[in-house]
């Protein structure tokens, strides 16, 4: 079982950045008014941010990192590790982490690579970056997570279009002997790879000018082409309702603690119905489970740090917080981490201007 703890790592700061354009779901005229109202109420997304063509996830992450480095007053030469967790990279090749290393003016002694995960990406990213740093050889590192999901979502897909928003985040980590361990429980079930899928454009279904661009009717109100995100709502829903509570309960048992000891459970922001159902399963009050869905939608691997920045930043800046973070979805991949933050640097959410 991928249950383990990573000692001696401190999270020093978290910043999040969104594109300028705000999309209001009340404008979504692909479905009629009554259905639109039910949809908005159920998924809990009133508005979200949409990137214009030309803005990349790395652009948002870059702005977040610059702000964070300014606040932390870190020397750039001290940063030796950069990880970019995303499913919307700048190019098919090379990895985007290298572009960020160069753009941020980090040294050639920096280790930099990408991880291709979504909903579970922040928790997985923390586990990889923390594990690499815990030997004590790397003192400072940056973890980037985020996605631009709106560019490959079909407007004529009511199951996906109203849900997704764009965002990028940066998390600064330091080697800090004696820091409370981060405790992880990470899981995978690749048999559900097609529950959230962009079928074309990879090597399995290489982009094809005859078939990839053509829109097909999937069901009532759902039309997609090969490059659009395809969601199997009920499959993802049942998976999340079954697995998240089990994963969390096992982690609590392994860590020898209980949910009563946790200040906040920050969930991946899937949709309101799903998040609220998980909250009720775990018998937690709404104040302990913050949501950013209403203003930002489902922002993939950015959702956990974005929720921390937009919903509980004053608390995180003011003192110590015991957090349980849990991401679940595309892969299928899911995981949780129990950690403590102490006087986090957490700037107000940044807005990236349109190109």
């Amino acid at each position: 079982m991928a249950l383990f703890s990573v000692p001696d790592i401190k999270i020093s700061g978290i910043a999040a950045c969104v594109p300028e354009d705000v999309y209001h779901n009340s404008e979504y005229d692909w479905v009629e008014e009554k259905e639109r109202a039910t949809l908005i109420r159920t998924i809990g997304v009133e508005q979200k941010r949409h990137a214009r063509k030309g803005t990349t996830t790395a652009d948002l992450c870059y702005d977040a990192a610059e702000k964070l480095l300014e606040l932390l007053r870190w020397e750039r030469k001290d940063i030796e590790l950069v990880i970019f967790v995303s499913q919307s990279r700048d190019y098919i090749i090379p990895a985007t982490a290298g572009l960020l290393q160069d753009r941020l003016g980090l040294s050639h002694a920096t280790m930099a690579f990408d991880i291709g995960l979504g909903c579970s990406g922040y928790v997985y990213g923390l586990s990889v970056i923390g594990s690499l740093m815990s030997t004590g050889r790397i003192k400072k590192a940056l973890l980037f997570t985020g996605d631009i999901s709106t560019l490959n979502t079909s407007y004529r897909d009511k199951s996906a279009f109203p849900l997704f928003g764009d965002a990028g985040t940066a998390t600064a980590l330091e080697y800090c002997p004696g820091a409370k361990p981060m405790v992880f429980n990470l899981q995978t079930d690749g048999s559900g790879y097609d529950a959230i899928l962009i079928p074309d454009g990879g090597i399995r279904n290489f982009a094809n000018k005859e078939t990839s661009f053509e829109y097909h009717k999937i069901s009532e109100g759902i039309y997609r082409n090969g490059f659009n995100i395809a969601l199997d709502g009920i499959q993802v829903f049942n998976f999340s309702l079954r697995e998240v509570k089990r994963n969390v309960n096992l982690l609590m048992e392994f860590a020898g603690t209980s949910l009563d000891e946790v200040d906040y459970l920050v969930l991946h922001q899937a949709n309101k119905l799903m998040n609220e159902t998980i909250r009720k399963q775990l018998k937690l009050s709404p104040v302990k489970v913050p949501l950013s869905l209403k203003e930002y939608g489902n922002t993939s691997s950015a959702s956990i740090p974005l929720t921390m920045v937009t919903q509980i930043r004053e608390v995180l800046e003011a003192g110590k917080s015991r957090l349980l973070l849990s991401g679940f979805g595309v892969g299928l991949s899911w995981g949780s981490v129990l950690l403590e933050t102490d006087h986090l640097q957490c700037p107000v959410i940044l807005v990236h201007p349109n190109p």
Partner: protein, 80 residues
């Protein structure tokens, strides 16, 4: 669990259903918009209320309120 209790809870869950209007023989498609969003709301409701999991295929086969009740009840019997 009995059927009148089950019905009262379903009525409370759906905003477009007036309390007291559903009966065991009510046809789902006639009573409310029985679409994928409402199906998810129903799945979430029975998961929290009765701790049972229902698949998409099982849900598609249900025609009446009584079918839903029997579906949930059959899962409860398996757990017991």
């Amino acid at each position: 669990m009995n059927i009148s209790d089950f019905i009262a809870k379903v009525e409370a869950e759906f905003e477009d259903v007036e309390p007291g209007t559903l009966t065991p023989t009510t046809i789902l498609k006639e009573a409310f918009t029985w679409d994928s969003v409402n199906a998810l709301i129903f799945l979430a409701h029975v998961n929290v209320e009765y701790d049972v999991e229902i698949s998409a295929n099982e849900l598609i086969e249900a025609v009446s309120i009584n079918d839903l009740y029997e579906l949930v009840e059959s899962k409860l019997i398996k757990i017991a």
